[in-house]
């Protein structure tokens, strides 16, 4: 090796004394109050919201047409009244009940379908055909049919929600199960896990990131579909949901309350998506290092 085509430079050897970590001072030091504040996503989002509210208020006052565009403060007042009189909470609870029923029926059917799909070839084919067929169909398009079958009332809404949840969740669960690594499967089986114990002990937790993504998509579909469905055919057996509230207030030209209803729809969606699902994520997939963020 002494004779190479590429002349190597002659350089002296050096040695350094390495300090013990203790002598290096602050290797890890806590962030200052403002650094922490800026790193906090909630604070940054809050600032944006305040700015948007300010612009809204100024523009609405300048426009001065409360029937089509109420001010921010009027909307807040309508919102407060709606809550104080108990109308919005009552409507919200009707909507949420319908939603929870539909969501869980949808999840159950999705779980059964997926289990059949992972255990048999014909099941896989069934699932992929069905999802390919029904996934592109907007749930709301089924509403006329649902009304025909189940009449005016909660069952029709539940039917539509089940449809909107089912295919998205089943698709995600299935691809989640398929992507569980061969090594994890083999590890589970050397422990002696079989059948349902294997599904619950290995497959479901290993596929949890995909399952959770499916739950989130399913939730988002269901929430939007339900509000839209309620708007379209409104009241059922004397008690309407949040969509009906919005529709009703528009009919009486109480535009501030329409805005209040919309804000409630947004707030609930946000709370579920950004708080509840985030919390589940933080406690599971993030903690386990299965999802970054």
């Amino acid at each position: 090796m002494s004779q190479t085509r590429f002349p190597l430079p002659l350089r002296p050897e050096v040695e350094f004394d390495v300090k013990a970590p203790k002598e290096l001072g602050d290797v890890a030091k806590p962030l200052s109050f403002f650094e922490k504040l800026a790193a906090n996503g909630a604070v940054r989002h809050g600032v944006i919201l305040i700015v948007v509210a300010l612009i809204w208020e100024i523009y609405a006052r300048y426009l001065d047409r409360p029937l089509s565009f109420p001010t921010f403060l009027d909307t807040l007042e309508a919102l407060r009244d709606g809550f104080a009189s108990g109308v919005i909470p009552a409507r919200l609870s009707v909507t949420l009940q319908t939603l929870v029923i539909g969501y869980f029926i949808g999840l159950t059917i999705a779980a059964v379908l997926t289990t059949v799909a992972v255990t048999s070839r014909i099941g896989t084919d069934l699932l992929s055909t069905f999802t390919a067929m029904f996934n592109p169909l907007p749930a709301i398009a089924l509403l006329p049919l649902a009304l025909l079958w189940f009449g005016l009332g909660r069952p029709s809404l539940v039917f539509v929600i089940v449809h909107s949840v089912l295919w998205a969740v089943a698709l995600n669960m299935h691809s989640g199960f398929l992507s569980v690594s061969e090594t994890l499967r083999m590890a589970g089986r050397t422990f002696g896990l079989k059948g349902l114990r294997f599904v619950f002990g290995i497959l479901i937790p290993a596929a949890f990131p995909a399952i959770l993504a499916g739950l989130k998509i399913g939730w988002a579909f269901a929430w939007r579909t339900l509000i839209a469905a309620e708007l379209v055919f409104g009241v059922s057996s004397g008690q309407g949901g949040l969509g009906w509230y919005i529709f009703e207030k528009r009919n009486t030209l109480d535009t501030a309350s329409v805005f209040a209803g919309l804000l409630t729809v947004m707030a609930v969606g946000l709370i579920i998506e950004a708080v509840i699902f985030r919390l589940i994520e933080a406690k599971t997939v993030r903690r386990w290092g299965m999802q970054r963020g």
Binding site: M186, T190, F191, G192, G201, W288, G289, M290
Partner: protein, 269 residues
Amino acid sequence: MALMMDQALAQTTSSSPLLSVDGVTLQYKTPDHLVTATYRISFDIQRHERFVLLGPSGCGKSTILKAMAGFLYPVEGCITLKNHVVDGPGPDRMMVFQEFDQLLPWKTVEQNVAYPMRVNGIGAQDAKARALDALAKVNLSKFADAYPHMLSGGMKQRVAIARAMAMKPDVLLMDEPYAALDALTRRKMQEELLQLWEDIGFTLVFVTHSIEEAVVIGSRIVLLSPHPGQVRAEINCAHLGLNERASPEFAELTGRISHMLFDGQNVAH
């Protein structure tokens, strides 16, 4: 040397083997190929042996190990454990895989080690105690509450080893468990494994492609030919361990093995 042979001979004739691989051909079916990974492999493993499978990359070492674990079925020949044909995986043959993703990411290190014991009906207290004990042996007590994604590749491998050892299986199958470790840690783990073997005397099947490691760990080595794997030789080396690494006998044996493996090809080692 001759004495060793006689002893080995006496053993094989006196007791039936714990694990026996008899004329086993293993194949993989891919959509457009039929890959033969090993061809008519036969060997017996006696109780308490430290049995090493040695061969070049791709010769089918992992494949045989997986077949012994019960994940693959031979297309020809059969594998028997205690005179029963192996027909599926089970906790009597714990396996340490070559891959890094063998730990359950949703369980802490300690839970990972305790989980197989819990699955097999060992009480929570007992399982925890054994798990902590096994973790101490692989020097990871400090990380008992960490999640696998916080560990380095080598540390994950050590957790997998602790998990397998804590189960006290009939046979411990290890697939290149130390390949990912730095030289120092590897040496330490080899010492630990041999010490543990002195303590418990489990039967070990160990896959490696390092000749030096094979001689240090093994009491008997099976040499496999390059793909598709066939048995090239069986060699005794129980008399050579960590302390004999500098001896001429050690060098002579590694030279002989390397010659057989590469069949006169000029490969520096």
